[in-house]
Symmetry: C2
Subunit: 93 residues, 2 copies
């Protein structure tokens, strides 16, 4: 029914779905630092806690908290840091 | 690392985590109607789309939309309806 994926030795787990906002995953990241690649434009929303993001080509990090979203361009890599289990929603545009 | 659970023949999937708000699951429900039981007080938050809820002992249904939350008492059963894949966060208090 729903497909679950694991990344980074299971420290990131996501479930694919078709939301009313389009194709999405809902998932969780354990504390750590990750680099993700994008195949589409992605809009990520923090569901609880916070994620700290480094956009491609930037040196600064920016923190997003519960219900805040950020957009990442298609075909790039971006970095994410979090300090504890952080649930998120990712929409693929 | 994270434990994933399936309910109702896989039409509800959740991932357990320890958020900054406490023990939680993040998951998704497919379109359908479900009855859940609670072992603790639960605070559910709609992450995208909407959930329609019947609280225990009530006849009316109430709809909650993106980022809205509702609380369910400990040790009861409540009903949930949704019309498409709906991601949610559940906090256990």
């Amino acid at each position: 029914m729903f497909k679950t994926n694991q990344y980074f030795d299971g420290t990131v787990v996501s479930i694919g779905l078709e939301s009313n906002e389009g194709t999405a995953t809902v998932g969780v990241m354990a504390a750590g630092e990750y680099e993700f690649g994008t195949d589409t434009v992605e809009i990520m929303t923090v569901v609880s806690g916070q994620l700290t993001i480094q956009q491609p080509g930037e040196t600064e990090w920016k923190t997003y908290t519960k219900f805040e979203s950020f957009e990442v361009a298609k075909g790039v890599k971006f970095k994410v840091k979090c300090e504890q289990d952080t649930p998120y929603l990712c929409l693929y545009k």
